[in-house]
Amino acid sequence: MATPRPRVGLFVTCLADMFRPEVAFASVKLLELAGFDVEVPRRQTCCGQPAFNSGDREDSAAIARQTIEAFDGFEYVVGPSGSCIGMLHHYPELFADNDPWHQRAVQLKARAFEITSFLSEHLDPQRLSGSFSGKVTYHDSCSGLRELGIKRQPRELLSNMPGVQLCEMEEAETCCGFGGTFCVKYPDISNRMVSNKSDNIRATGAELLLGGDLGCLLNMAGKLKRDGVSVEARHVVEVLADMLDTPPIGAEKRA
């Protein structure tokens, strides 16, 4: 009898669910390639970050409890976003130390990983077989970079794909101006930040912008499109999983 494969619960994230399901499908494909059984718990919704960052502790805690229950029993919880997984890592702060939910939140935190950092630990890079060929540039999303230490992992994974030529942009670690509700609460400042980012992306000469967080990618892709810049944008897992049939983010549908 074969040993059962370890179970991963996919934390889809609301932006992947709503805007770019391919990101979640690519995550499933990569996790299966790495030898995991992937399940998608139905009781998950959003990580609760909009409430948490707006000072609404009550709703944040309610959503945290729901997420903790939804992912009970999985050895790992993996999601295609440093920001949302970073939020799962904040859950212990929502409960008093003596609250039983605190311990459960700590346990969830220990099992929750952003996808590129998880793959860099668990996937044999030889098994990556992407067909993409061309120049790419990589934006380091803030939460992943500073809360979870994600910097080298996506680059290492990409370095195993012979066709990918990485051209680093200036200020790759500077915020793109998305910031969740920040981008609509302070649109002028956000616009300045994403304009700077767009200039830095354009200057690399890359044809494709990659990143690990859809919030930032929607923001940057939306700006590149508005400015008529021809650089396309995708989540890094789309390239890693060789799922390139869907048009890039915000691009015209193919006839």
Binding site: F19, V40, D56, Q66, S143, G177, F182, M193, G222
Partner: protein, 467 residues
């Protein structure tokens, strides 16, 4: 100082369109962060020093009363006087009283953000004492009737052209755009003031408990003239600047200059330990330390206590993309940038300053560079919590959040809601794959397109596949 933080958004819009300001901010961005990074790279133990500094500050804050009292005892033993001031008003009055007792007409001032915090200049002026700023940046601002936009480089929002214009108007000399000429002009103007002043007022970077000394770390030497030439030296400082020993002070000095300007050490590090003693060649006859609380002791023992570790290096604002876009004056009060977004609500009320802790993407760069590891995003979130609790957040935000969380707390309804939104967006976008305009989403679509969903929601597709 008038609190203009409620106008943050309008001020930001104006700042973003101010070409002169944007040029000045470009200089800041091109300067400080790179210099800091180079200085940090030259000191391998920098991060260990940060840990030590954090721990030491935490220790000090746990025993703040003890160290302040030790400081007072030693100042007194040295022949100086400590004045305890609970409020900004207490501090202003105390300083005016000292000036009046000396019959002072003019006072020279070294750079001090605490003096800005307590609104000292306007107060002295209104009571017949003329303050003269001697820090070059502050001097330029005083000529212009302007306020600091940065805690270390107060005139960073100005360009060389602005300075040349201000000097030409006030000094009545031929206009020059040569920095060396302008510097020489300021020197000549200020030299007379140094000699004429009855009282010199400086701030303090640290207060040293074991010796009863204060220290200023500067690059111009103006502070030294301010504190040694007049008969009376007043140090105005906030209470959290106390450190136990001289050796502890050196730990912070190593972090301060590197974090602020990327220097290994500031050019002048001047200790003041009381009035002139018999046999001393120079120094003031009187030495006063005005200790300002102004809401700080209320922060001790709360979540905000960590903010009291701040050593005013300005690294957080130098690296902040929001500060870099709008500049310091947009924040509408004395302290700008991330540290100001935490301090200002404490000092002027969250009801007046709620826009500041919200004006952050929580990118975390400020915390990454803070020499004493203050979790600035967490503290800004603390203010958002207080704001939400007190029903001070804008109604649109509150109702929008409640509407959204109603669905987010009910997975089945949420899936239906996401599916409907997804369908509508795809319908509106058509083949184009993105939306140039969307009702109620102007904040987004005024500046960028909204990429449309690429297909049905993941949950819909996953269920269809696994049925």
């Amino acid at each position: 100082m008038e609190v203009r933080s409620p106008e943050f958004k309008q001020a930001a819009r104006i700042a973003l369109q101010d070409a002169n300001l944007q040029q000045a901010l470009g200089n800041l961005k091109a300067g400080f962060p790179g210099k800091r990074a180079a200085a940090v790279a030259r000191l391998p133990e920098f991060d260990q020093l940060r840990d030590q500094a954090r721990d030491l500050k935490n220790h000090i804050l746990e025993h703040l009363d003890l160290y302040l009292e030790e400081f007072e005892r030693n100042v007194t033993a040295n022949g100086g006087t400590v004045h305890w001031c609970r409020s900004a008003d207490d501090a202003r009055r105390t300083i005016l009283d000292i000036c009046r007792a000396q019959g002072a007409k003019t006072v020279t001032k070294g750079k001090s953000m605490v003096s800005e915090e307590i609104g000292l200049n306007d107060y002295l002026e209104a009571h017949g004492v003329t303050p003269v700023e001697t820090d070059l940046g502050e001097y330029i601002l005083q000529l212009r009737g302007d306020h600091p936009s940065h805690i270390v480089a107060p005139a960073i929002h100005l360009t060389l052209n602005d300075v040349a214009t201000a000097f030409h108007e006030h000094h009545k000399r031929p206009r020059s755009d040569d920095p060396a000429v302008l510097m020489q002009e300021a020197r000549e103007m200020l030299r007379k003031q140094f000699v004429a002043a009855d009282v010199g007022i400086t701030g303090a970077n640290f207060l040293i408990a074991e010796t009863g000394s204060t220290i200023i770390c500067t690059n111009e030497g103006n502070g030294d003239l301010t504190q040694t030439l007049p008969k009376t030296h007043i140090v105005v400082s906030s209470i959290e600047k106390v450190v136990p020993t001289l050796e502890d002070m050196t730990l912070f000095l190593r972090l301060l200059a590197r974090s602020a300007t990327g220097q290994e050490f500031t050019v002048y590090n001047t200790l003041s330990s009381g009035p002139r003693r018999p046999g001393d060649q120079d120094g003031p006859e009187q030495f006063h330390v005005v200790l300002v609380d102004n809401g700080r002791s209320d922060m001790v023992g709360t979540e905000l206590q960590e903010m009291l570790r701040c050593i005013r290096c300005s690294a957080c604002m130098n690296h902040c993309p929001v500060y870099g876009a709008v500049g310091g004056q947009t924040y509408g009060w004395v302290y700008p940038g991330p540290m100001g977004s935490v301090l200002t609500p404490q000092m002027v009320g969250i009801e007046n300053a709620g826009l500041l802790p919200n004006a952050s993407t929580f990118c975390g760069k400020c915390e990454e560079v803070c020499p004493v590891r203050i979790p600035l995003p967490k503290l800004m979130r603390h203010w958002r919590d207080r704001e939400f609790e007190q029903h001070l957040s804008p109604a649109g935000v509150r109702y929008g959040l409640k509407f959204w969380s109603f669905f987010a707390r009910r997975p089945a309804l949420y899936r239906w809601f996401a599916g409907s939104g997804n369908w509508v967006l795809r319908l509106l976008a058509g083949k184009k794959g993105r939306l140039g305009k969307l009702p109620l989403a102007g904040g987004w679509t005024d500046h960028r397109d909204l990429p449309a969903p690429s297909g049905k929601t993941f949950m819909q597709q996953w269920e269809a596949r696994n049925r």
